[in-house]
């Protein structure tokens, strides 16, 4: 209860769902063989933390930011540039953290103090402008960032796949640096999500909700809301940068497409909405559903399409052809927003019989 900051899932179905997701993530290296499963699991962890930090802004303060991928990118590039430039050792990782997190913090502080005084739309526009500028900057400064190609780099020895701790004889596959990296990612993400849960349930977090509900009234109570909003923006930025660092460590690469592009921003928005805004738990659910769909829908459709063709059904094989997967992904999201306007978490919590 203390770990969850007094904010449990408050629904049996939601608790079970979360436990299943977390157990699956914990056991992935042992029960789902292959590199793809591990990649998907790591991506779910990283995005759960990233989306949770975005939920702090969107769900709890009601401010729409388009700069979240920028902070994510700052984290990614900090790791990439440091490990590429200073060599694959832990000092470089420490340098990346020491440079990347403060940079994200300062940028968020500047954007917040500059634009959160006034109406929400201004903040949205400013973040959009700054994020676009940053994207251009990252692809232009190719001597530093590798431009469009990005930067590939080596990890510190301990985290490399070649570093074997336990040989094949125990589990049928080696426990190596790759698996260690996975658990590093998993535990760092879990810590960040628990920290966010603490923040939103603190007296400070309660003020954020008050601002979302009625900023004018919060001011009249004596809260200087611009500082609260800026503070929240900084926390979200630092967590996003942290998630970006883990992303780069996992991929051993940072580039515009994997860490800065607006399509990632869009994915984040979708995950928040699908999972349920203003819940933090929604981030875990949203990330799991979205990324699983993104990675396995095609394979599922291929099976379904073949089955339909074998059964001699008309039209269906064509509709279910794996090339149409984006169509189905889109339909899935429209349906989920239509049927769960408060997200999966909101839906499960409001179900009759859910314990409150």
């Amino acid at each position: 209860m203390m770990l969850l900051s007094g904010d449990p899932p408050r629904s049996r179905a939601l608790s079970i769902l979360l436990v299943v997701i977390i157990l699956a993530l914990l056991a992935t290296p042992f029960i789902f063989p292959g590199a793809k499963a591990l990649n998907v699991a790591a991506k779910i962890c990283i995005f759960a933390a990233l989306v949770a930090s975005y939920d702090l802004l969107l769900g709890y303060t009601g401010s729409v930011s388009f700069a979240h991928t920028m902070f994510y990118g700052i984290g990614s590039y900090a790791i990439a540039i440091a490990l590429y430039g200073l060599g694959p050792n832990w000092t470089s990782v420490a340098a990346a953290v020491a440079a990347g997190l403060p940079l994200a913090l300062l940028l968020a502080l500047a954007i917040g103090l500059f634009s959160l005084r006034v109406e929400a739309i201004f903040f949205a526009m400013i973040t959009l402008a700054v994020a676009s500028a940053f994207l251009v900057l990252a692809s232009q400064l190719s001597w530093l960032t590798g431009g469009e190609d990005g930067r590939s780099f080596q990890l510190p020895e301990l985290l490399r796949p070649g570093t074997v701790f336990i040989g094949k004889e125990w589990f049928g596959f080696p426990i190596n640096g790759r698996i260690l990296t996975y658990y590093l990612v998993l535990s760092a993400c879990a810590l960040m999500i628990l920290a966010l849960l603490r923040v939103v349930n603190s007296p400070f977090g309660r003020v954020l909700q008050a601002i979302r509900e009625n900023r004018f009234r919060a001011e009249a109570l004596g809260y200087r809301t611009v500082f609260h909003l800026t503070y929240a923006n900084c926390i979200a930025a630092v967590i996003a940068a942290g998630a970006g660092m883990l992303n780069a460590l996992w991929l051993r690469y940072a580039g515009p497409d994997t860490s800065l592009s607006f399509s990632i921003m869009l994915d984040i928005l979708l995950m928040v909405v699908i999972g349920g805004m203003g819940t933090i738990y929604g981030a875990i659910i949203g990330a799991a559903i979205f990324i699983l769909a993104q990675n396995y829908l095609q394979a599922l459709m291929s099976i379904a399409s073949t089955a339909a063709a074998d059964a001699g059904l008309p039209l269906l094989p064509g509709l279910l052809h794996p090339d149409r997967w984006l169509l189905w992904l889109g339909l899935l999201f429209i349906a989920s927003v239509y049927f769960f306007p408060t997200g999966v978490v909101g839906r499960l919590r409001n179900k009759p019989g859910a314990s409150r």
Binding site: S5, R198, P203, V207, A210, A218, E219, A220, I235
Partner: protein, 254 residues
């Protein structure tokens, strides 16, 4: 130190329209001043200027000898000015208890504490509940603010101001739209506040019976100007009020 609230030549213009025109007036602790005047006379605007929701075009506001004209609304609240709004202004989707708890939290100066759960501050919750009992909303503490009846929302509005423990209470038509049986709860509350002689109480009110029974003093605003100031009986009887506010000419009243 006596905490006197004073406005000097307080003026606000919206384009060519002067909504509050050079109003100079001072308010003393232990005194309940009713501000009356026809619709559009500038009463609520005058309130907004004092509590900082609007910035004055010219003039100054002094509170306890300190010039607070340049302070933002949150800082004026912290300085001791409490405001209950005319149009109910709550946190609609939060619980009744949470609405008041947020006000208590603000009053306690807990602004940026993010390391412990809010529930760990049981003292804040207990104080919020005590205030809800005072305004007879104790049984509704768990429901969302929007689901309250209009009258209960008005009471919650007053509860938020009480939670701030201000030196100046500014009520803007606290009984507007309330049913007859709900009005006494709010009037009792204001009466109790009055007994604490250290508070300045300002009350915008249309109901003349309420004003007569509560006010120690009445000021009249008309077209943004202060046109009368004095004891209730005198002010109500004065020709200018009869004409400007009650809409009767002195001749027909006589």
């Amino acid at each position: 130190m006596t905490l006197t609230l004073e406005t000097r030549d307080l003026t606000i213009r919206f384009g060519g329209h002067v909504a509050v025109n050079s109003v100079s007036c001072s308010f003393r602790p232990g005194e309940l001043t009713a501000i009356v005047g026809p619709n559009g006379a500038g009463k609520t605007t005058y309130f907004n200027l004092i509590s900082g929701q609007l910035a004055a075009s010219s003039g100054t506001i002094l509170f306890g000898g300190r010039d607070i004209t340049g302070l933002s609304a949150p800082l004026r609240t912290r300085a001791g000015l409490g405001r209950a709004f005319q149009l109910t202004n709550l946190f609609p989707n939060l619980s009744v208890e949470e609405n008041v708890r947020l006000a208590v939290q603000a009053q306690s100066g807990v602004h940026y504490d993010l390391l412990r759960p809010w529930m760990a501050r049981r003292d804040l919750i207990a104080r919020a509940d005590a205030i809800l009992d005072q305004v007879a909303l104790g049984s509704r503490r768990g429901v969302t603010a929007t689901t309250l009846s209009h009258g209960d929302q008005r009471k919650l509005e007053v509860a938020l101001m009480m939670a701030l423990q201000p030196d100046v209470f500014m009520f803007d038509e606290p009984t507007a739209g309330m049913s007859i049986d709900e009005v006494p709860v709010v009037l009792d509350l204001i009466g109790k506040l009055k007994q604490d002689r250290s508070k300045i109480i300002l009350l915008v009110e249309h109901k003349m019976d309420v004003v007569r029974s509560l006010a120690d003093r009445i000021i009249v605003l008309h077209n943004g100007q202060l046109v009368a100031d004095g004891k209730p009986a005198e002010v109500i009887a004065s020709p200018i009020v009869q004409e400007a506010y009650l809409g009767v000419s002195p001749r027909s009243a006589a």
